[in-house]
Symmetry: C2
Subunit: 330 residues, 2 copies
């Protein structure tokens, strides 16, 4: 344990989890926080409540900007608990000298994405910091949602469940990396940044009972699957060849030396549902993105572990990402 | 209107109000936001919801630290709407290299102040930014409170009301300025930073009907009184000699060239109540701080203006503070 905070402490992976449990959970200990996943469940299970601060660099990138990201990020955290996003707060911290036109573009982008969710900003805060004490702009959004399906939790996954993805993975991480490093790709690579509530709503309205749901942000799909395997005390077995990864993302992964499963997403979720709902769920997911697919199943082979089965018949553990990954990804 | 964001745009005064209305209110327009004061009132008037980001420098100062401030600030915004603080989120953005021991001290300070409010942190977020892209640490807290008295609003002040202060003013602003400028005072000057819910609870439980309540943070007492005079379309007349200001704060004001009424507070509120409650309210306020006092009344002399009556019989308008004031005060 380092005496100073490192970039790895904010990576969404192992070190980040340690910092959260050792410093924050310890000091703030309470039952609701203990059970909190993407959002806390409050008011006798009626409301979901979640916060996120957005520090992404660059501010504008293919497919989205920090404004859209700030609304999607928090609304998605609510949606992942089966909640309809309702009210958001918006707190903006701006560097002195930041262009007003850029601020207006960001705020308009937020307003547009709020409509997709049917949510509104009801309270805000604006701070300006002297030049050089903050890089451009940071946005915090905190949201309240109405729970529309109760009981979604990463503690409840069983061997009756299958594991699905709603689309191909890693485009957000790959896009930010490309933009930051000035990699010019002759491609359509863009961030998956999107509001997920419409998909969740369609699943719930069709009568599907969701076991667990999680958007694979910092730490990627690998972080989600590992957390689930531990929290539900199961083994999750994934077929590597079933994980949809675009050629562009594979290309960036080779440059990065990362695995696509460790790359951040901002509109990609992992879904655990009882096998009986698999066909129905896939049909719905495919109306939003044709890359939606089942990627694996739940077993008891190695409890609290994620096994990746390669196309060649070999097996390895997929671990929780660690190390520095990519700072300011979201 | 500047093409770039200036420090004045975040001062809690005139320029800040303009930025909020021209950029944020315009894009996010909705009824709840329009009516939102220190906190938004949601869920059919049952809940208050408010956000604040804390950028104070230095992080540790006489009377408090950024952790205590982050809990007091948001809990006070809820309390000012007559709400009992219940649930907070805590989002922390840390500079790479920040000392872990300091982080732990800050988080413990938050935990301690949560207890004063009977509130809990239920959800959080941790981001780490590369060295040099953020100065040390920023904390966002967003809170939900249960409304215990409805109808508190800065729109309802009438000539039946009197204006009270719960204590002497300006100590937070004066403390931060002293700390930042290295001014050594042989005094007990310390920030007023404190949770105000216990006082609000005592007022409400005694049967007092609060007209309006506002903690005088950025922009100080002058900003609150001016906002009230405009929103209720009244004239507020203050007796200068009745405003309690300590010798230490007066001393700092001379150095600063500020008026104490423009200095930020973090545990000081302005209260408007019907004259019939004045004696009862003062008695309660004085059990918390003996400097509590009535400072003025509501008239129709100059609608939408605040008049300061000096001890010498002269009169002047007390204006909303403008210009840069002191950045990173909270």
């Amino acid at each position: 344990m380092s005496k100073t905070i490192t970039l790895a402490d904010g990576n969404g992976g192992e070190e980040n989890n340690n910092l959260i449990s050792e410093v924050f959970y310890k000091a703030f200990a309470n039952d609701i926080l203990e059970k909190s996943e993407d959002a806390a469940i409050i008011e006798d299970g009626r409301l979901a409540f979640s916060t996120d601060s957005f520090t992404v660099s660059p501010l504008f990138f293919a497919g989205a900007d920090i404004g859209k990201l700030a609304v999607c990020g928090t609304c998605n955290d609510l949606a992942m608990m089966g909640a309809k996003p309702k009210y958001l707060t918006c707190s903006v911290i701006i560097e002195e000298g930041f262009e007003r036109e850029k601020l207006e573009r960001i705020v308009k982008s937020m307003a547009k994405e709020l409509k997709v969710n049917g949510a509104i900003v009801v309270s805000g805060d604006t701070k300006v910091m002297p030049k050089g004490t903050i890089d451009q702009i940071i946005i915090n959004t905190t949201g309240i949602g109405h729970i529309t399906q109760e009981g979604i939790s990463s503690n409840n996954i069983s061997m009756d469940d299958v594991i699905l993805l709603n689309r191909d993975i890693g485009t957000h991480g790959a896009t930010i990396f490309s933009a930051r490093e000035g990699i010019e790709l002759e491609s359509n690579l863009q961030s998956d940044c999107a509001s997920l509530y419409p998909i969740v709503k369609a699943l719930i309205h069709s009568g599907i009972k969701i076991t667990a749901l999680r958007d694979a942000t910092r730490g990627g799909v690998a972080a989600v699957l590992n957390e689930w395997s531990k929290q539900s005390n199961v083994c999750i077995e994934i077929q590597e060849k079933l994980i949809p990864v675009s050629d562009e993302v594979n290309g960036i992964c080779e440059i990065l030396g990362f695995e696509a499963t460790a790359l951040a997403n901002e509109g990609t979720f992992v879904l655990a549902i009882n096998k009986e709902y698999e066909t129905k769920a896939l049909k719905i997911l495919k109306t939003f993105n044709t890359n939606a697919t089942t990627i694996g199943s739940v077993t008891s082979t190695h409890l609290q572990k994620v096994i990746l089965n390669s196309a060649w018949g070999t097996q390895r553990f997929l671990e929780t990402p660690n190390g520095e990954l990519l700072p300011r990804i979201c």
